[in-house]
């Protein structure tokens, strides 16, 4: 394991992978916000630990399976399925939390990993926008061709969460874009703006 500060000094330890991982988690709070980068070698990637990518896939599958079971249970049993729903939500949350602590490269970061994260986040956002927009259009089309008011009202209720999500996402994106634009292109020092 290598702990690095801004002067790039390093401390090599002779501890086992598990001890090093524990040390790293112990040290995390101390170093938060201090501009200190923490890097664990993939030498630590052994045993029953897993990588961050696998964690995201497993977590998404857990959420998807839980959602399908909850949807099925509520559809079949109605309000009496609430204890099952609550249990499933708690179990899923605990499972995801436990798995989170087993990621061996959770704190590994450098500029390439940051770049990969940026690209993945941007693509996710673009595809999510497209999916939400497509869902909104599909729902609006169904509302327009619905042959009675009851169906039209139900379709409207179905469409509203997509519309709201889309609007919220756009708003959050705009806020962060303004924030980062100001952070990186502040005009106060622009000599040619006069």
């Amino acid at each position: 394991m290598l702990l690095m500060n801004d002067n790039y000094s390093s401390i090599q330890t002779g501890k086992s992978a598990d001890e090093q991982t524990q040390m790293l988690f112990d040290n995390t709070n101390t170093f938060n916000g201090c501009g200190i980068r923490i890097i664990i070698h993939s030498e630590l990637q052994g045993g029953d630990n897993m990588k961050k990518n696998n964690y995201y896939i497993i977590a998404s599958l857990i959420i998807l399976i839980a959602a399908i079971i909850i949807y099925g249970a509520v559809s079949v049993w109605g309000p009496s399925a609430m204890p099952l729903v609550a249990a499933l939500v708690i179990i899923s949350a605990i499972t995801i939390y436990v798995l989170r602590n087993r990621i061996d490269d959770a704190l590994v970061t450098d500029e390439l990993i940051s770049r990969i994260n940026e690209m993945a986040a941007t693509r996710s956002l673009q595809i999510t926008w497209l999916l939400l927009f497509a869902s909104v259009i599909a729902n609006l089309s169904l509302i327009l061709i619905a042959d009675n008011d009851l169906l039209r009202t139900r379709m409207l209720y179905l469409a509203m969460p997509f519309v709201i999500n889309l609007a919220i996402m756009l708003l959050i994106y705009a806020i962060f874009r303004i924030y980062y634009t100001k952070m990186y292109t502040g005009s106060e020092d622009d000599e040619e703006s006069d």
Binding site: L2, M4, Y8, S10, Q12, R37, I39, H41, S42, V108, D110, E111, L112, I113, R115
Partner: protein, 64 residues
Amino acid sequence: MKNQIKVFRAKFDLTQWDLADDVGVTRQTIIAIEKNKYAPSLELAFRIARRFDAKIEDIFQYDG
């Protein structure tokens, strides 16, 4: 962007691990730079050049 990191590593007898440790990145990043799949930031490029006591242009060449 082409680079001579592999040559300099051989000259200094450094492994990818060693260089990654010294400049404060993961080995994955060094591999990506050596394979020209990732262009490092200016800061990292300077750190690598400093590690090899070389000028940045001796290690990195722009071939655009």
